[in-house]
């Protein structure tokens, strides 16, 4: 049973994944054909060589880091809809925590997939409505000097503070090591992208578990 369901999810996921790739690539093609404007290869290459060095390498780390945590359906959905670290991952984690189910079980799989799917639709709707209806007003809400600006500027500490508090209360022994390592890394490399930093802190946290387990402190 277990094998069956996960196998099915992977099959659907791969099909949607290929569909998404085709759709994505068709966008620049359509733009180039419709406007009859193809980019100059050398200009495009000079841009891409920079971007790919940065993002294709990060992508490998991201895939290895997120895949075990998002579940199968959640992974295929998250990587198509994006905004993983700041949205899909915390939403999936919070849902599994609330429903008291474990990652890498069928229960965890369905709950995180539903949460991530709902979150994707909500984001898509908010962006679409925002663009179509509120585009003229929105700059005032998030503009310099608006009373609401600080709320959105600090949305990430608020999100991870809320998420962190419930986890930390339960697993306080595991907390100090990854935070300290993360801070040390940032002291030397202050602008490191959060995707890469996360890889370091996860390795630190997991290594910490290994040590605590050996010492029988868990």
């Amino acid at each position: 049973m277990q094998k069956n369901y996960f196998d099915k999810v992977h099959r659907w996921g791969i099909l949607w994944n290929i569909g998404a790739l085709l759709m994505l690539l068709s966008i620049p093609v359509a733009v180039s054909v419709y406007f009859n404007a193809w980019p100059e290869i050398n200009v495009l290459w000079s841009v891409l060589s920079k971007l790919m060095l940065l993002y294709w390498v990060t992508a490998v780390i991201e895939v290895i880091t997120y895949v075990p945590m998002l579940g199968a359906g959640g992974t295929y959905l998250s990587f198509v809809t994006g905004n993983i670290t700041n949205l899909k991952l915390p939403v999936g984690l919070a849902a599994m925590e609330n429903a008291k189910v474990r990652a890498n079980t069928e229960e965890g799989e369905v709950v995180s997939t539903i949460a991530i799917g709902v979150s994707s639709i909500t984001t898509t709707v908010i962006i679409a409505v925002g663009v179509l209806a509120f585009a003229p007003v929105l700059p005032y809400i998030t503009a310099e000097g608006s009373a609401f600006k600080p709320a959105f500027e600090w949305v990430l500490p608020a999100l991870f503070g809320a998420l962190g508090a419930s986890y930390f209360a339960k697993h306080w022994k595991l907390v100090p090591l990854p935070v300290i390592i993360g801070v040390i890394v940032l002291i030397f490399s202050p602008t490191m992208g959060v995707g890469t930093l996360m890889f370091v802190t996860i390795v630190a946290a997991v290594a910490g578990v290994g040590v605590l387990y050996k010492l029988k402190w868990l």
Binding site: H10, W16, G19, A20, L21, M23, L24, L25, I27, P28, V31, S32, P39, L51, W56, V67, A72, Y76, F79, V80, N86, L93, N98, V111, I114, G117, S119, S120, T122, I126, G130, L138, P139, T142, P150, A151, E153, W154, A158, L159, G161, A162, G164, A165, Y167, H171, V175, P178, V179, I181, G182, V183, P190, T191, L197, I202, V203, A204, V209, Y213
Partner: protein, 254 residues
């Protein structure tokens, strides 16, 4: 009419929105059905839906804000498309900036050359598709390995639980470390008074809300404690900005 906001571009955007929505609905329906087979209560699933929506609203609005920022140079439709598929805040801004600057422009002025616009479209797309090229080959293998390792025995399952808890904590730790010591390339959101204050307020709010739930047995409120604590954290940022002296609010050490 500006080519960046022509009907053609809107048609592409709506197509993308339709694709993403369909995929999400597909997976939700399949998961929902299987959840029933597994005997998960409807109440639990409903709570998952509602709390996920609540949790999503604020971050989605900040994503929308990025769309608006990029709209300066790229028109509103392309950033909308890019942030609906794969897009994420940091990536799209950097990609657009790199592309525009390579052609001698800046993100603050509008692109008027169709060729430049199509170059940016190509660069943003190809730069971001790497994960989709990898997933069909690695996703299943990675998850099978982990599943097998965890389900081998009772003690392996226990260690597996501890490791996945550790991995979650690693993720959160990265963001906390950033609030303590991080900077960003554009200097917005550097570690300082505000990042720490908001982090602490959100944490304390969460602890208080959970305690209230436990004490008064408010099981119904439990799924909403996280989004509510997040909103309290965001509200505190507005409050600090409004009442505290500027030199405290703007105090950063990175």
């Amino acid at each position: 009419m500006d080519f960046k906001e022509s009907t053609f571009m809107y048609v592409i955007a709506l197509g993308v929105v339709a694709f993403v929505t369909l995929q999400s609905v597909f997976f939700i329906v399949k998961s929902w059905k299987h959840a029933k087979e597994l005997g998960i209560e409807k109440e639990t699933l409903k709570n998952t839906v509602v709390s996920s929506i609540l949790f999503t609203v604020a971050p989605a609005i900040s994503i929308l804000a990025t769309v608006i920022v990029l709209a300066n140079a790229l028109g509103i439709v392309l950033p909308w498309i890019r942030l609906t598929v794969i897009g994420n805040l940091a990536y799209e801004t950097t990609a657009a900036q790199t592309a525009v600057e390579a052609m001698g422009g800046t993100l603050t002025s509008s692109i008027s050359d169709v060729k430049q616009f199509s170059t940016v479209t190509w660069a943003m797309t190809i730069g971001s598709i790497a994960p989709l090229l990898m997933l069909p080959f690695v996703c299943k293998k990675l998850q099978k390995k982990i599943g097998n390792a965890v389900n081998k025995s009772e003690s392996a399952a226990k260690l597996g639980d501890a490791i996945s808890a550790a991995a979650f904590i690693g993720i959160i730790a990265a963001f906390i470390a950033r609030a303590i010591a991080g900077t960003t390339s554009d200097g917005v959101g550097n570690a300082g008074f505000m990042s720490i204050a908001v982090l602490i307020v959100a944490m304390v709010a969460m602890v208080i809300l959970e305690t209230i739930c436990k004490k008064f047995n408010l099981e119904k409120l439990r799924p909403f404690t996280m989004p509510i604590a997040m909103f309290i954290g965001m509200g505190s940022a507005m409050l600090f900005e409004a009442v505290l002296p500027e030199n405290i609010v703007n105090f950063v050490w990175r």
